[in-house]
Amino acid sequence: MTIAAHSVVQASPRTKVFAGAFVILYAVITILPLLWIVATAFKSQSDAIAYPPKVIFQPTLEGFVNLFTVRTRQTPDFIAKLPPPETWYDKLVRERDMVIAGPSKVVPRFTNSLIIGFGSTFLAVFLGTLAAYAFSRFRIPLADDLLFFILSTRMMPPVAVAIPIYLMYRHLNLTDTRLGMILLYTAVNVSLAVWLLKGFIDEIPREYEEAALVDGYTRLQALRKVVLPQAVTGIAATAIFCLIFSWNEYAFAVLLTSGEAQTMPPFIPFIIGEGGQDWPAVAAATTLFVIPIVLFTILLRKHLLRGITFGAMRK
């Protein structure tokens, strides 16, 4: 058979078509659940829980309005007596016999996610860059053991780690504070940052720095003016990985925060409407929450392999 003789190196056109069709089919099936959630975000409450499930529906922003507001149900008479609605969302809510009572907690939760995410990313990348540079350029005693220790801390079961952290934070008054979460996420992320950045810095030829040293730069100047500019892409990729981790993290957040410092992942499942989960609002929150991740994944495409293997593989 001539087709069988085709190796992986030069796949025959027929193999390519078959492979392509199969992969595309898998990709479409894989993306369907996500598309369903995005669609649900634009459904009305009744469309979201319709049977059979609705594929074609009248899009509405109700889910998003519900996500951002707290509403109370009123009698039609009461609503009729109110002054005319000022905004489109007031109008939308009143059509459902409700009145907006105030903003929901989603904005503070989103803010927490941002502050904790960026705070821990900045710290982890800062500490990670220094440590990675040292591991890459200097001879450090027991370097391999230290690197293993650093990585092993990331692999620990979060629920197990949370038990002593919970006790420690109670003593230090760090429970349910942003600072406490930033420190915790920094500790988890710094291990990834060290490993990833060591890989990136290893790739920068040493001669550049050595030339700078001969020119009279100090080590620190050489680091700042020669190494860091070369490592910018690596640092950015590392930062995005750290940010994604903090953004997505759930176990620590649900066990160690309850209000003040709560982030989005433990908040989203508990967006409740009348009678159970308010699915359009949950879907709207999920959509807003996931969009940055999708963008980052596309941005990071070339570095994904590196990120998931702690910098060991680079294609």
Binding site: I31, S152, T153, P158, I163, L167, V294
Partner: protein, 321 residues
């Protein structure tokens, strides 16, 4: 790296006036050794404070009877009682079995799907990189958010999953519940985990496949080896180290799985999907049996630490390729 720097050193030492330039460099600014320690110390200090100190504290607690919901009770030192309680508790063994079944079936499925996809994508059909990115999306999402939205998809009446199944098989959609039935729930968490993580295995396998030099296949072609033969004697053996890496990492991650399953089934129905992390969370944060749960946490730590050790060794070996 070292081979590149050596000519440099040689060049410097050849110039008489600069023979001691390296010691001059060292005196300007901080010494290399000082910098090395200054740079590594903060990271180590942070990890000691956030990971190691609490860990040691937890080891101490595991020998006590501490219960946070009854902290008025005097703290008793119970020695190894917690440990023996856990090891003789049939429930804990059942949860460990549930966890083992989950780890084995999900990792197996992910290897089959992931490796299969990698083989297909490696055919480099047109547009493969776009579709690869789409396939990779699930693994970047928050497991908690994923677990939460799959509960909507799995709703017996309103969820599209049951509806699709009924379209293809004719089974009425409300006649079964993926998250509510003892027979189905363990497979449901495997399914969602595979949806999320098969791309991970795929990405690593793809790197393995791309590391095989073309000339090996060309040589096999010259020897008229069949495609089947080429797969068994070239492709598979050369991808195995990568596959092992993916398997070990997924096994570690799934062994400590908490977030996705907690939101999808929260261990139910009954305790059919109660993984050991969920048991631990209940003991520590619902029953507040801190002494007992510290001991259980240490058992999990030791297991993961051992697996992580092997993982890093493998990682370094693959890196050298």
């Amino acid at each position: 790296m070292t081979t590149i720097t050596q000519p440099d050193d040689a060049a410097i030492s050849r110039i008489p006036s600069q023979t001691d330039s390296r010691s001059v460099l060292r005196t300007r600014g901080l010494s290399d050794r000082t910098i090395a320690w200054l740079f590594v110390a903060p990271t180590i200090a942070l990890l000691l404070a956030i990971n190691i100190f609490p860990l040691i504290w937890m080891i101490r607690l595991s020998f006590t009877s501490l219960n946070l919901s009854m902290s008025y009770l005097p703290l008793r030192v119970v020695g190894l009682d917690n440990l023996s309680d856990i090891l003789t508790d049939e429930d804990v063994w059942l949860r460990l079995q549930t966890t083992a079944r989950f780890v084995i079936s999900s990792v197996t499925l992910q290897v089959i799907v992931g490796f299969g996809l990698a083989l297909l994508i490696n055919r480099q059909f047109r547009g493969h990189s776009f579709w690869t990115t789409i396939i990779l999306l699930p693994m970047m999402l928050s497991p908690a958010v994923v677990g939460n939205f799959w509960t909507l998809l799995f709703q017996p009446q309103i969820g599209p999953f049951n509806y699709m199944i009924s379209l293809f098989t004719g089974v009425p959609p409300s006649s079964f519940s993926m998250t509510g039935e003892v027979g189905l729930a363990p497979w449901t968490i495997v399914l969602v985990d595979t949806w999320m993580w098969a791309p991970y295995v795929m990405l690593i396998c793809l790197a393995g496949l791309r590391s095989i030099p073309d000339y090996i296949y060309e040589a096999a072609e010259v020897d008229r080896a069949s495609a089947w033969r080429q797969f068994w004697s070239i492709t598979l053996p050369m991808t195995v180290p990568f596959l092992m890496l993916a398997v070990l990492f997924r096994a570690i991650e799934n062994f400590k799985m908490f977030d996705m399953v907690n939101l999808l089934t929260s261990g139910g129905p009954g305790s059919t999907t109660e993984l050991v992390s969920i048991t631990l969370k209940r003991a520590a944060f619902e029953k507040w049996r801190t002494g007992y749960s510290s001991a259980l946490a240490i058992i999990l730590f030791v297991t993961v630490f051992g697996a992580a050790n092997i993982y890093v060794k493998l990682l370094n070996r693959v890196k050298q390729r």
